[in-house]
Symmetry: C2
Subunit: 391 residues, 2 copies
């Protein structure tokens, strides 16, 4: 079933194989497995539900569908005694769904950290390697086909967060919604952030993290400083990686191309073969002690903050005061960059400088409270950059 019969797909198929009738597969008793690749959520949900109710197994590559309505579909599949597989829905060619649910099935998962968006990872690699700014790197990526014309879902963390929700459900058997993820994108970063990270011996990655803590499950997708000695920092370009920590295995890694036609086909076909071979998927069992996501304000981390401020007396003191009286303890505060020439053409204005602050471990909520105050600072220019610092 395709939407547009007239589109040239570069294939020679016998007449009648391609059709545009959604009901035909559902009503055909000879069809045993439906593969959903139409994308979008409402129509795909209806299609998959109808397939399951008609007694077909389902294979899908639809990440948004599984993120938003996966639990309903899994319940329906169980009710119908049918299987739903979605390896291609998370990180394309990275065989992480099978990895988590089958290869690591004996482990109690304690955490995972992952690079789940190839576009962002490519942009960050280029910015680090060439010193380019975000806009420049994006233009190059769009030219080379590594970024969409509208890259917002890739660079603002949405895409990675949808994948993290799916993975964390599988890994922790927890009920998780998109809103449980502390979210930040890479679109506010500048070349100097990557340069500063490098000086600290770190790479910047859009890291998706899920951590089992005593307070609950911490979930975040944010630009993160990762030590260069950590091999995750070495995963560059469009490659995705998921590093899973389990009580038995220690840390196991799955990596590969996160998107693309052929890697997606590899995952869809693996699912098809698995269904055809009658391999029942493991489903995350409800754990003995269910774990809940912590509120995003309760995420605890070290933070990197970069402010652009006019270089007036007291600006350091004002910032330090806001952070300190918000209960945020500072590890260091550094006036980092040289005054930016282009912003200082009018000699009467004081120069604009970057101030980088590294905090000790603190709750994200304190930072949010502090932000309400620093937004009112007269000397602040633009939105400050917030990154996590991996431990």
């Amino acid at each position: 079933m395709v939407r547009d019969l007239s589109k040239n797909r570069g294939l020679n198929l016998p007449d009648g194989v391609l059709h545009d009738d959604m009901r035909r597969a559902i009503d055909d008793p000879d069809v045993q497995i439906g593969v959903e690749l139409i994308g979008g959520v409402p129509a795909a949900f209806e299609l998959c539900s109808d397939l399951l109710r008609a007694g077909k197994h389902v294979v899908t590559a639809n990440k948004a569908l599984i993120c938003e309505r996966g639990p309903e579909l899994f319940a329906l599949a169980a009710e119908c005694g049918r299987t739903i597989r979605f390896e291609a829905g998370v990180a394309g060619g990275v065989p992480i769904v099978a990895g988590l649910t089958e290869s690591l099935a004996a482990n109690r998962i304690t955490g995972l950290r992952a690079i789940l968006n190839g576009t962002s990872n490519f942009l960050l690699s280029r910015m680090a390697d060439t010193g380019a700014g975000y806009a420049e790197a994006l233009a190059e990526a769009q030219e080379r086909g590594y970024a969409e014309a509208d890259p917002s879902m890739d660079v603002d963390g949405t895409d990675a967060a949808q994948k993290l929700v799916i993975l964390a459900r599988l890994a922790f058997g927890a009920e998780i919604a998109f809103q449980d993820v502390s979210l930040g994108g890479i679109d506010g970063l500048d070349a100097e952030d990557l340069q500063f990270a490098k000086e600290l011996g770190c790479a910047v990655k859009l890291l998706a993290v899920a951590n089992r803590t005593k307070r609950g499950l911490e979930l975040s997708v944010r630009p993160t400083l990762v030590r260069q000695t950590d091999a995750v920092g070495g995963i560059g370009g469009p490659m995705n990686v998921v590093a899973v920590r389990g009580d038995l295995v220690g840390e196991a890694w799955f990596a590969g191309p996160g998107a693309g036609r052929e890697p997606t086909a590899s995952a869809v076909l693996a699912d098809l073969l698995a269904v055809a071979a009658d391999r029942p998927p493991f489903h995350a069992a409800t754990p003995a002690e269910p774990i809940r996501p912590v509120p995003v304000d309760d995420l605890v981390s070290r933070f990197y903050l970069r402010f652009r401020v006019t270089d007036r007396p007291h600006v350091f003191a004002d910032l330090a005061d806001i952070l300190g009286s918000s209960g945020i303890s500072l590890a260091s505060i550094i006036q980092h960059a040289e005054p930016l020439a282009e912003e200082n053409e009018d000699d009467a204005d004081p120069p604009v400088v970057s101030v980088v602050v590294m905090t000790h471990r603190t709750a994200a909520g304190r930072l949010r409270a502090a932000a309400e105050r620093w937004e009112k600072l007269e000397s602040l220019r633009g939105e400050p950059v917030v990154m996590l610092v991996a431990d």
Copy 2:
């Protein structure tokens, strides 16, 4: 079943659960799955064969068994309609058997490169990081429990080659024996080899490689210069990694701890769960065009050669002549290290120096022929170091 009933295993088990009667599990009709963890080949082969013939499924962590007698066991399992799984037999906690045979089942595998021995990888990481020589790094690794008292099978490549044989059978559906692997160890390396690699922007890894070529399957386990920009070069310490190249997926990676009690348990339990869930393993189908290993002399690569020679006139010329007349084309020849002080105490002797040669792509057989000639050189001191250079 255990060998020694009196050994304290730190477990409280009801009486009668532990016993030392090999036949009991085989003859018990209630036993459905046998897990073989006794090690060694002949006794394990007999046990697994008897279990299969008695209608039990088998899970084993025995690498040597699968390398040496796997094909016989798989044939017997098929005959008996039973399953044999061995995830723990290859790279411990790295879920590569499931990865190759299930997640990547839709791919035509074109090659794989892997780090399959944690001891060697730890030693090479330490030598690179600290400048220590082989003996010094080994002593430290033994002290810290990363190397056995007798590490020969780890450092001479045997262990990694056994794993490569198993992986390459799965990946290429080919008949492969241990002797088909071009084999070299890390025990001849010295600090200066790692230093020289670093100057070239490379890391040294004991790399296990299988490559589909027009001439057949190239198989090697040898110390190899890997570019530092290649993320495989960043995998250090006891971690193992298998990077698989497939026509659809591009390159997918599986990584984790290659050995250890818990990672092995993780893999054995995953196999047990898979058998219990009745997931039939995929077995490598006989490919339409069977591929055969190329003779080890036909392995084609760039090579790094390091000779220790007394610094006499003509020694460069002698070496260059031997290599040239053996048909080996040189990319560069460098007198690398300073004269080694300790070998030059007697002022009458000419100093001993290291000469490093980088070749263009050449067949290993030519190198073997040249070796027969350079071994006769009067100025040669000790065995030359031979490494591959990854493309």
